[in-house]
Symmetry: C3
Subunit: 506 residues, 3 copies
């Protein structure tokens, strides 16, 4: 090998950068046919796919490789996939009989929506873990919960007016799809074929209700749940993407689940933002302190982590609460994580579809027990201990525990005031068949637990106490809404008292 | 060539990185004279300029190059510019008779403020497109609209008090310059010369009212409108900067035009944030899927895009609404884009300087027609289709259309309530000569259309529905302010009723 | 040297990237012993340390190097440190008699908490400057100010209820540690040893109240104040980290001190976000325009800056207000910076622990004088002038001065209304022994000066007027809260009037 060639390779590798892999694997005839048109029809998709691992190696090469190459968790992979790169046809013509949107397309039986069960042909373990993930049920968990439906309609519903009051009617499908179900995922439904003029003549394409959607709980046309593309963006499906916080931010940034916002103001994010450009987001396994120096979302919640000598700190998981004993996201209180990813089955002691009663008693039969909580806590702390001493870790968790207790107590106090307001008839509460979320003072209460108690807890959990823990949508607002609730009730009572006095004076 | 030299070059290229170009072109004598002092007087500017393309090649070299080198759209360039790099003197002594701030400076006739008409000497097409861009009129569009003046004074005006009510007096020039006109641009005015002591003795410098300003609609001292530096930061004028979202964020991040915030929570930004470091932001032309994998602001709104074989997807434009059929930024409703960049000429059917009436009827004579809307829609969808199928694109736009309809309906309902409040005299509305923006309940209404309806639409437009579409300044707040308006009106009526009862009882 | 070796070095350097330095210096025996266990017990810490400068060279090598290598400001360094890398033992066994948490650990006298006085053994100048930095007193400045204590308890205190009103009791230590004191720093206290089971048998470890903490004003176990790790993250202590805005963001992002938010929407940040990946954040000294093209926080407030020929623009400082004449962070007005970093000693003319009276008169005896303000202004403007002309700089500061005047006037007006509310008894003010921050209308006033006046000033100071200066937590909200205060007072007076009329009618 000449010195120049070495230099050329050196250059090529460096120029390609960590984000690019050169396509080299043999393509199936079917995929080649797809590319013949789609390289110009949907050229961005094709160019993106070319830069990813699916295009770079055949399934057999991946199966034969070590940890750093092999990403396939299936024991067996269908013979016809083994010798070729994972191209268009490999995914979009897989299991054609199972997909309601399979259509005849230039001699191939193609389906538009690739589902987790398609991906499971190679990525078996990930798909089966994800099926047990709360997120995979995000569609039904929202839709099939009658109480959440009331919250939903009061936010995204069509507004009208009756007797001077704002009314809410259920939102249409398109509004739902860009509203709550953008993250939760839509229910897809095949509506038949339509013929469209194209550059190569008239062609038939499926019409799919609810499409597009990349929501985590998408109900697919083969009956499976979820969209791998929610985190693993098409069509390069880079592991780097799933490991970086921008990916999670797509859904976890609003004031209701401010995970990204809180992370972004934490010490961990400070380190990531300043040094992350030097880290290795592609290494498998992922080495703590060498490949990265501070956690991203994936480090704590999903990734397999090892030490420099390869020792395992924690296993990879696609069941995102595997390292989470408690659900901090208050509904309306914190609670042990649900046993089943299907939370629509939960009923509390008062018969409501909530993991706790309105005064905070947990629906224990539906929640994981102490032992399972302990197992998950141990998982998470194994991550912490990669960089922190036991003393440190204990100190951190003691504070989080305290924050959970304090915020739950505050929510209980606020809910008590809200219930007095309902009982006094100053607002129409659930007991009178009212929507508990659709009046102004009810919003004050909703914000308190949904935005401010959550932000405060997330801040304690992610060691980002300074901002979201105090002023930005944390304790400052929590205490403010508490005072507002109490003052509002007092004012109503005062006006009422005045009114009754007037009445008796008449 | 020795191996060491090869290595050195290798190192140099790598160390320089994609953001740096080495200065190599011949300098004019005048520029050399400038540098003799300014390399130490304003050393950051000089070092920055040295790293850019203007310093790296002569105009002739650029003119002679292919697409990847040539950035000049002028057919002819003045002879004296051709042989040299574009240095200090080339821009700051250009067209001296046209600039009111031209002053004698060490034997040269220098002007401080370089204007789009100066840049147009080489970048002709960009400048003429920009002159038709809404942004170029941002100064007058705000200043010359009597209704916007009322909104402006109620926000940035000097506050006083009269009879217990807050009054607003017009803000001074300096407040305006760091307020609304920071983005809109200031009107510059030459106020004469002043003599200042410097390291090289006493020198005279121009005094310029409104300076500094890099607002998009700056009124320049040669009468031209705009500041290229708003997006192309001095003095390296990197195309990479204009192509990255941080540039647009300078003005499009507030709750009124939350483009950046919404983008930052979208799938597109998730991909950009996680993989963008590997992309090529300098390539001209810019290849979809290879140079970048997800859009930044520039991709959708401005850049020329091609496929891997060089086929054109869409032309470059500096008329930023060339790909925008509708203006989502509600004033107070969405509407077809204005025909003229000068929006101060618009009058609706009720004679107000607004593109629609308060109940939503468009001022059609001043807005682009269906055909032109169709042309712009096609431009934008050509970008979408670079990476998305027709089915996908149609599904996306159907949702956006629905969101536009739903939010416009909500604004109409809210405005109806506001008008009842004005008619009842609970607030002083425009009919009574009141400023419609300066009372608390009027702010509730203003936020509804200016912040929340806008955020909701932007979220639908940029497929970032999950956050800004629902909880963060979107539908949650929109519905909340709607309820607030209605409850406030009811309370006033109740108090009023009580008052009238009392009156009749007296 | 073989060609292959050259290539290997080339590769190694490039693969390492700008963020990594290979460990090469000799280790002390003590450090080697630490590593024998901790390379697996706290592997992330060890790997992180290995990648930093402390591991890469001995103290003597650093002392012998030029500017670019030497980071040690001590004239003399203890002999035993000179020949070795700065490893675990060098810091964690330094000055053992001074640290209350020193404990016997496998034959070594180890302390957990490394303090600024430990760092000062090599970094003398930085530590002594930091001791004069306001931040080093952040713990006491909050805790020992009786007025701030009232603000604190109304935000993070435990809520109860009495006679229908919300009461606040002081928060517990853990809540404080994840609340205000997360940034301010906690007071550490040694509570004795506890024995814990470990992989190598039972070992004793110190129990430390207030641990962990990386707050800027941490009270350490050797009596020193501060935590260098607040900005220089463990254990690679990269200068790059301290120079990037993500570091400062950890504490300066909330609505009370929105420095990061405002920066992020400025032109400076736009340039940093789009081009920063190409800059050199490790160079010492740091060259304006070449190493970086736009300021980060560190550029303006801390770093030593030079021109391309090495000429000094401004000295490095760890006294963060060395370049700040005025404190924009209103308490409740802007004011000249305090003379002493201990602000708990300040008393205004009315005896309150505030730098101004409630109507804005400065507590001059405790604040720096005009001359010192002039010196600091000159320091800051030396930074501006690196890239901006004198005309530009003057224009910028004139606007900031005006913004300071306008916002102070607005705060004075709002405070006047608040005082009328207190005097009328509509809220319980300080004169009646009430907490001035714990009622709803008091929060309206608090937000006005703490959030909105601050954001408006920061926006003017950092040339980010377009967003935070107007709509996002700036003038829009400031004027809104002003109107709210006035309207609320009017409504109370109206209700009162009605009540008194009723009374007289009875």
């Amino acid at each position: 090998m000449s010195r120049l060639s070495i230099l050329c390779i050196c250059f090529a590798v460096l120029a390609a950068g960590p984000g690019r892999v050169q396509a080299a694997a043999p393509l199936s005839d079917a995929t080649q046919e797809c590319l013949d048109c789609h390289a110009s029809v949907t050229l961005g998709i094709v160019a993106d796919w070319r830069s990813g691992r699916h295009a770079a190696m055949s399934v057999a090469q991946s199966l034969g490789g070590d940890n750093a190459v092999r990403r396939i968790t299936a024991g067996e992979v269908p013979e016809k996939l083994r010798g070729v790169a994972v191209g268009c046809a490999e995914c979009h013509t897989l299991r054609p009989d199972r997909h309601a949107d399979t259509f005849e397309h230039n001699g191939h039986r193609v389906h538009v929506v690739v589902s987790p069960r398609d991906c499971a042909v190679c990525h078996t373990e990930e798909a089966s873990q994800y099926a047990e993930n709360l997120m995979s049920r995000a569609y039904g968990n929202l839709k099939d919960n009658p109480l959440y439906a009331k919250l939903q309609v009061s936010i995204i519903g069509d507004t009208g007016e009756k007797d001077g009051r704002i009314t809410f009617a259920p939102a249409d499908a398109r509004t739902r799809a860009v509203g709550c179900y953008y993250c939760h995922g839509t229910r897809l439904a095949f509506k038949g074929l339509e013929t469209r003029e194209t550059d190569v003549g008239d062609l038939a394409f499926p019409v799919i209700d609810g499409w597009p959607s990349q929501g985590v709980g998408r109900v697919n046309l083969d009956g499976s749940l979820g969209a791998c593309t929610a985190c693993h963006g098409r069509h390069s499906f880079s592991i780097e993407m799933a490991r970086k916080p921008g990916t999670c931010k797509q859904c976890h940034v609003g004031p209701d689940v401010p995970a990204y916002r809180v992370y972004a103001a934490s010490k961990h994010a400070g380190i990531y933002e300043s040094l992350g450009a030097h880290w290795n987001f592609q290494a498998v396994p992922w080495t703590v302190g060498r490949d990265f120096k501070a956690p991203t979302c994936a480090v704590c919640h999903a990734s397999q982590l090892v030490g420099e000598d390869g020792e395992l700190l924690v296993e990879r998981t696609h069941r995102m609460n595997d390292r989470l004993p408690k659900r901090l996201y208050g509904l309306i209180y914190t609670h042990a994580h649900p046993r089943s990813p299907d939370t629509s089955i939960i009923r509390n002691a008062d018969g409501q579809p909530l993991p706790t009663t309105l005064d905070g008693r947990p629906a224990e039969a539906f929640l994981i027990d102490q032992k399972e909580q302990g197992r998950r806590l141990k998982n998470m702390q194994a991550v912490c201990r990669g960089c922190h001493s036991t003393t440190w870790v204990r100190g951190h968790w003691a504070r989080l525990d305290r924050t959970v207790a304090v915020t739950d107590a505050a929510v209980k106090q606020a809910t008590g005031i809200m219930q007095r307001i309902w009982r006094a008839g100053y607002a129409r509460g659930p007991a009178e068949g009212g929507n508990p979320f659709d009046e102004n003072i009810e919003r004050t209460w909703t914000e308190l637990w949904l935005f401010y108690a959550n932000s405060t807890r997330f801040a304690a959990a992610m060691a980002g106490g300074g901002d979201y823990g105090v002023f930005a949508e944390g304790r400052f607002n929590l205490s403010q809404n508490m005072v507002e609730l109490a003052e509002w009730l007092q004012q109503q009572e005062k006006l009422e008292g005045k009114a009754s006095k007037e009445k008796s004076a008449e």
